[in-house]
């Protein structure tokens, strides 16, 4: 593993590993900083935190939040909650696939978009809802999806692309 990354992981572990039961917060912090948690990184965390790698691997594969492979620059989460389902979430998902070229659970070949499915974003009265990075879009019409996503495609082609951390609030 590259030296800088190893150092980065060590710093995260030192900062977060302060009380018992920190395995999940450590994995969350690593993913929020680096974007995903690979097997290699898990080994590095294990060494630094003194938690067996098998435990960490078990956690990372149990919880749907963790990703073991790099994701796209923009994360498109399509809500498939009950209300959104009734209001046509499947059609929205089809439109997202069409606009990004990424099937559900996958990343587009140009790595601009990852297309993910979520159980519920809690904005049920405004369905169908999608979340792009940290922004929630309400009452999404399938035919408007391509236009909606265009702005992210452009803004993220700049070099100042921030790490596509999961849902860390931008304070």
């Amino acid at each position: 593993m590259d030296q800088a990354l190893a150092q980065q992981i060590k710093e995260i572990v030192d900062r977060v590993n302060t009380e018992p039961g920190s395995a999940i917060p450590i994995l969350q912090a690593v993913q929020n900083t680096i974007g995903y948690v690979s097997k290699e990184m898990i080994d590095e965390i294990a060494t630094n935190a003194g938690i067996p790698a098998s435990d960490l691997y078990g956690i990372a594969t149990f919880y749907s939040q963790f990703h073991m492979e790099p994701r796209g620059k923009n994360i498109v989460k399509v809500c498939h909650g009950t209300a959104c389902h009734l209001l046509g979430a499947d059609r929205v998902a089809a439109a997202v696939e069409m606009a990004t070229g990424a099937k559900e659970g996958h990343t587009s070949s140009d790595r601009v978009f990852s297309h993910e499915r979520v159980a519920c974003l809690g904005c049920c009265s405004l369905g169908p809802v999608i979340m792009v990075n940290d922004e929630v879009h309400a009452a999404v019409k399938p035919e408007r999806v391509a236009t909606l996503l265009r702005k992210y495609r452009q803004s993220k082609s700049d070099s100042e692309v921030k790490a596509s951390a999961a849902s860390q609030p931008s304070a």
Partner: protein
């Protein structure tokens, strides 16, 4: 309550913008940005508040005048905000067309018909400002509780008849008592904010709009049971709630409501936040504790109950967000006042997240005993697009579908159970006559397949088998034996699972089988979906007489299945069509029909 501005401006003392997740999704941030600049010029205070509850009308802006009059504007855009500032705030003349609530408007029933205890401050106070909460009477209940003995606090909560709002309805006072009497120095208070049911957003709204009420409830709980450490387990999909909670905890520490020797009482207590990592099963209390301990969230058998052996084997009391938010009200108003609301066995109110095919979705808090019909029609304004009510789904994937014929069922723990569903955490999904109930069952079971932790064979394998059968049925490949098998597996999964997830996962199947059997039979025997929802059983065609050849459908078809020349009728190639329905959605001439 709004404080009078030193320089009243046409009587307007304060302007409020709802900035909870749903408001922001609808564009409230842009409205807020505009108002901040526009109002600063005129020295009129702008306050960011949480969820006002009328999600259907977001973004919401409220204009409060000195005499306490309130004008609520709905669906506000920055352009509309400009007009509102010019005409109402500066000109003194409300823009009546955009009002959703206020003296002149008639649509005010949405909030007026509710009884707001849990949501008492939501939409009125700034969730990021502890002084606002204190000005609204916040932390008075805590001071009152600390002057009592812990036993007296528990007695008050017991007398009030408060039952767990997470769904199971266990008496809160009893839970605290059981945790208190277990000997031991180290005990924990845990707040379950892992609101995982799809279709439920009550807890998110409370955490985003009034976080201190939940903290105050937790602190009172910690005093009652004798705990010095608390955990708040929050769903990862709620970044705004987590941010506001962190902020609220810091403020509470600065003011001495958390930390050592709280308000000079000698009681120590502090709270840590743990973010969930995306596992529905962690809403189950034993799994939640495993997750806080940093492990895979897999339920364990009870007993021992958490009150004896909970987090790290220590006595622990786990309550839901809404339960805690009720506690300060009970302490400050008295148990009798609380117990006078509701029914004989279910006291107080319940917050529902009203959504689906209803006109006015949003947050609704009503006394226990209110009927489903009152919630949907009197408050929610009835069914969207003038359709008929078909079913009401409560309790999410653990609940059932209540048919329209039982819409007069009062909401309380026992009546909903009798109707074949559960109170659940408060999701209330309204389904109209276009909803395919087999598809609904398939949807919920698919959710349970994903979320089963895999520990119990019946749940792990049984949910998958049910899902496969339902897939077959919705694809027109089901047989009459499938219905028999489906019911049999559903009952066995219910009986053979350890935790609430497995025990309740079959409910959507069982209730739809019981109440909508004819729909299953149409899918199985006639290979027909009566509501034209199941893609495999329907065909889209273009009516050549109605088609103007505008090419809109052909341009929007994701698989290029539509061909035709400009200004000539178009045609769908059935071998390519994926039944996504996009053509029907975009057609301006109703030329696309489905059969």
């Amino acid at each position: 309550m709004p404080q009078a501005s030193p320089q009243p401006n046409n009587g307007v003392t304060e302007v409020r913008v709802g900035l909870a997740s749903c408001g922001m999704a609808a564009g409230a941030s842009q409205v807020n940005d505009y108002l901040r600049d526009a109002l600063a010029e005129h020295n009129i205070p702008l306050k960011s508040v949480g969820c006002i509850g009328m999600c259907h009308a977001e973004p919401l802006v409220e204009i409060v005048s000195g005499d306490g009059e309130s004008f609520m504007y709905g669906k506000v855009t920055p352009e509309r905000a400009k007009t509102i500032v010019t005409e109402h705030v500066l000109g003194g003349k409300p823009v009546e067309d955009w009002l959703v609530m206020g003296c002149q408007a008639t649509a005010g029933d949405y909030v007026k018909r509710q009884t707001r205890i849990v949501l008492r401050n939501c939409g009125h106070i700034d969730p990021e400002n502890i002084d606002d909460y204190i000005a609204a009477g916040g932390y008075e209940a805590l001071a009152k509780a600390l002057a009592m003995t812990p036993e007296q606090v528990i007695e008050q909560v017991t007398k009030a008849g408060l039952r767990g709002r997470g769904g199971a309805g266990f008496p809160t006072g009893l839970k605290w008592h059981l945790t208190r009497i277990v000997p031991g120095d180290v005990k924990y208070v845990i707040c379950n904010a892992d609101e995982g049911d799809p279709g439920a957003f009550m807890d998110r709204s409370v955490l985003e709009s009034d976080p201190h009420s939940v903290l105050e409830g937790m602190i009172i709980g910690s005093y009652a049971i004798g705990a010095r450490q608390g955990f708040m387990y929050v769903r990862a999909e709620y970044p705004v709630a987590v941010r506001r909670l962190r902020h609220a905890i810091e403020q509470a520490r600065e003011r001495g409501f958390l930390g050592k020797n709280i308000l000079g009482s000698g009681h120590d207590f502090d709270i840590s936040i743990r973010e969930g990592a995306g596992a529905f099963v962690c809403g189950e209390e034993t799994a939640l504790m495993m997750s806080i301990e940093g492990r895979r969230g897999m339920p364990t058998p009870r007993p021992p109950y958490p009150s004896e052996k909970g987090l790290w084997e220590k006595p622990s009391s786990i309550n839901n967000v809404e339960t805690f938010a009720n506690v300060p009200y009970i302490l400050s108003k008295g148990a009798e006042v609380f117990a006078s609301i509701g029914t004989a066995k279910s006291k107080g109110t319940k917050v529902f997240a009203l959504a689906g095919n209803v006109v006015k979705g949003g947050l609704v808090e009503v006394p226990m005993g209110t009927t489903l019909r009152e919630i949907i029609f009197d408050i929610g304004g009835g069914i969207r697009d003038g359709r008929e009510l078909k079913a009401i789904q409560t309790g999410g994937p653990s609940g059932g579908c209540i048919p329209a014929s039982l819409a007069d069922t009062p909401i309380d723990y026992d009546s909903l159970a009798q109707a074949g569903s559960i109170m659940g955490s408060g999701g209330l999904l309204v389904m109209d006559d276009r909803t395919c109930m087999v598809d609904v069952a398939r949807f919920f079971i698919a959710f349970s397949v994903e979320e089963s932790c895999g520990k119990c064979t019946f749940c792990r394998v049984g949910t998958r088998q049910m899902s496969e059968i339902l897939e077959r049925i919705t694809h027109g490949q089901g047989t009459p034996e499938d219905l028999v098998k489906l019911e049999d597996i559903a009952i066995k999964v219910k009986q053979g699972s350890l935790c609430g997830l497995g025990q309740t996962a079959p409910n959507p199947v069982l209730t739809t089988l019981r109440n909508y059997r004819e729909e299953y039979e149409a899918h199985v025997n006639e290979k027909r979906c009566p509501t034209l929802k199941c893609a495999a059983l329907i065909t889209y065609t273009i009516d050549a007489d109605a088609c103007t050849g505008c090419t809109l459908c052909a341009r929007n078809c994701p698989v290029n299945a539509i061909t035709g020349e400009v200004r000539k009728p178009h045609l769908i190639d059935q071998s390519l069509c994926i039944k996504c329905g996009m053509c029907q959605q975009v057609c301006k001439f109703n030329a696309v029909t489905v059969s």
